[in-house]
């Protein structure tokens, strides 16, 4: 399994990027001096250094990215790209059929993700911050815009989306009877823009990690028919 993000859009000048990184280092030094403010200052420092390193400023881009239209939010260099892949030891017709039936798919995904099927092509998704939490981090309606049986399913979000996304899931035979290769390729417009995505990734819960976990869980479900249960307090008490 493998996921990767690409950030190629820049809207900050080279000089300003150097100054931004220096400011970020300054904030980090300050964080070391002030234990009480360490958390926020470290976050600020991270955001500044990311802004400098990527050359992308969400504030500069805000005017053009605050839209839920996939065409506007994801066009050209906007949005973040993400790829993730896994190989599932089941034939491609089984994997495709499972994926196409969202009632089935939702059973395999992490319990923080719920899917409500609206009709054959549209579904309502919501993302909770933790298992069993009543709160919701984000919701979106997805529409299947491309469906080639046993080859590819393509989707995009509709205008109500908190996280605008568009992408595809491709299916193909793995060599030597190892089952099916599943490749997810998506573009998304993360909350708080790319800096938000970068900060989330630094803390290990970026979209890459979430999508990777989804693929691992679907693989395990299709190979075992269930997940491996582990009490939250399994060995620590």
């Amino acid at each position: 399994m493998h996921a990767a993000s690409l950030h190629d859009h820049q809207n900050v000048s080279p000089t300003e990027r150097v100054l931004t990184v220096l400011a970020g280092l300054g904030a980090l030094a300050l964080a070391a001096q002030l234990p009480r403010a360490r958390g926020p200052l470290t976050a600020v420092s991270g955001a500044l250094m990311l802004r400098g390193a990527t050359g992308y400023c969400p504030a500069y881009a805000a005017a053009s990215t605050r839209t839920a239209s996939t065409r506007d939010a994801l066009a050209g260099p906007r949005g973040s790209h993400l790829r993730a892949a896994t190989t599932i030891a089941q034939p491609v017709e089984t994997v495709y059929a499972f994926w196409r039936n969202l009632d089935h798919l939702s059973k395999a995904l992490p319990s923080t993700i719920t899917i409500e099927r609206l009709d054959d092509r549209r579904s309502r998704w919501s993302l909770a911050p933790a298992t069993g939490s009543a709160a919701t981090l984000a919701t979106w309606t997805a529409e299947i815009i491309n469906d080639e049986p046993e080859r590819v399913i393509g989707w995009r979000t509709l205008d109500d989306a908190d996280i605008v996304s568009a992408g595809s899931v491709q299916f193909k035979d793995a060599p030597a009877g190892q089952g099916t290769e599943v490749l997810v390729h998506m573009q998304y417009s993360p909350p708080f823009g790319r800096v938000g995505a970068g900060v989330a990734r630094v803390f290990g819960r970026g979209a890459d990690a979430v999508v990777d976990q989804c693929l691992r869980d679907v693989k395990r479900y299709l190979e075992l028919g269930r997940q491996v249960t582990l009490r939250a307090d399994a060995i620590s008490r």
Binding site: M1, T87, A89, Q178, G179, G204, A209, D212, Q213, R216, K219, R220, E223, L224, R226, Q227, V228, T229, L230, R231, A234, I235, S236, R237
Partner: protein, 389 residues
């Protein structure tokens, strides 16, 4: 129930904790009859492995009686006496089907961290940190065993607990180390580290056709145990290892070298923290990396380096040039225990291997904290501790 819990570096405590229960339909619960402290438990005890939390139950070598079975279990029944592989395997993924059980795709529910650190995760392990799944270990009165139809081996009544226990890890680990040497008749094998795994590697190498085995250690009792198995010995505190090996092999070097020592260096979190951790661990364990360096330096041209010793992080100053120039093969990895349990049980029944020879200490589970300390310091000729709950 009583269980051996990890509370930090050099701090294990026998605590009263809740009993385990059936969580998935193919789980069983064992009442542990006998368990052991592994050399790799000392990596946890020393605080070298990240992903441990206070209160985690240790132990991945255990044998017990089935007291409860899940509704989906097909091959075991209440009352069966079984020994359990330390690596947890689903039996259905491509890795398991290829006989690579310790590389199971599905048994580690926390695979994400190891995927980030290593590029992919191996199987879940009992009692070996949350990186490897966070499964409770078997140094306890009871333990939950997932995938009960896949791993556990039922023992015949004439095999004692002490004879069967080490099928869980160190006997297959020593055997796989020797098998990885690809021995031809007449080969000479050198084994760094004459601890329990080294002892079984020595005996397995003879079983697999080695003409001579040379054991390298500094603990007199362990060297004596190697001698008893028919090995020649080198005390690395008193003799020059390379020179002695050359003298013993007509200047060729051993055909295969087994590093049964390993390195207590393990990664964590960010790259910087991982690097610091590695530097720190290596600083404390240079003599141990020295085993791998010596093995590569002394190995015969075209020979094999077989590594059952555990490595976890980034290694500095591995003599890759020597390994390349001499055309060495390196083989390593966690043991695919499931592959070896039945054939090694046959060896035990036939009397060709006696696993009990490595046991030096027997203690009640309640005395586990003292036993860890004695084992770490290799005091009192301590080679292997078994604990009875």
């Amino acid at each position: 129930m009583q269980a051996v819990c990890w509370y930090g570096a050099h701090d294990v405590r026998v605590m009263d904790v809740p009993d385990p229960y059936i969580e998935d339909s193919d789980d069983v619960i064992l009442r542990v009859r006998l368990t052991a402290i592994c050399g790799s438990d000392l990596h946890l005890y020393g605080g070298f492995i990240p992903g441990m939390k206070r209160g985690d139950i240790l132990g991945h070598e255990f044998l017990g009686e089935v007291v409860e079975i899940g509704s989906g279990v097909k091959t075991l029944a209440v009352g069966d006496r079984v020994v359990v592989p330390f690596a947890i395997a689903c039996g259905r993924c491509v890795s398991c089907r290829r006989d690579l059980w310790a590389l199971c795709d599905n048994s580690n529910p926390n695979a994400g961290t190891l995927q980030t650190l290593y590029g992919a995760s191996g199987s879940g392990l009992f009692g070996y940190s949350h990186l490897y799944g966070g499964f409770s270990g078997g140094q306890a009165e009871y333990v939950r065993v997932p995938f009960a139809d896949i791993g556990p081996l039922r023992l015949p009544p004439h095999i004692t607990d002490e004879q069967g226990l080490f099928l869980s890890d160190i006997l297959p680990t020593g055997y796989m180390a020797a098998e990885n040497c690809d021995l031809r008749g007449g080969d000479v094998v050198a084994v760094w580290g004459a601890g329990p795994v080294g002892q079984f590697a020595i005996r397995s190498a003879f079983l697999l056709g080695a003409s001579r085995v040379i054991a390298i250690d500094r603990v007199a009792a362990r060297l004596a145990m190697a001698t008893a198995a028919g090995a020649e010995t080198i005390d690395f505190m008193a003799q020059k290892v390379y020179d002695t090996l050359m003298d013993l092999t007509g200047g060729r070097g051993p055909d295969a070298c087994i590093d049964a020592v390993g390195l207590e260096a393990h990664g964590t979190g960010s790259i910087g923290a991982r690097y610091d951790r590695v530097k720190q661990a290596m600083w404390m364990t240079t003599d141990r990396l020295q085993a791998l360096r010596q093995a590569i330096h002394a190995c015969r041209k075209g020979g094999v380096i077989s590594i059952p010793g555990v490595y976890g992080g980034f290694l500095d100053k591995v003599p890759m040039g020597a390994a390349f120039a001499k055309g060495l093969s390196l083989k390593m990895g966690q043991t695919h225990v499931h592959r070896y349990m039945a054939p090694l049980l046959a060896h035990i029944e036939a009397g060709t291997i006696d696993p009990t020879v490595v046991i030096s200490h027997r203690a009640p589970l309640a005395d586990a904290a003292a036993a860890y300390d004695t084992f770490l310091k290799k005091e009192d000729a301590c080679t292997k501790v078994v604990l009875r709950p």
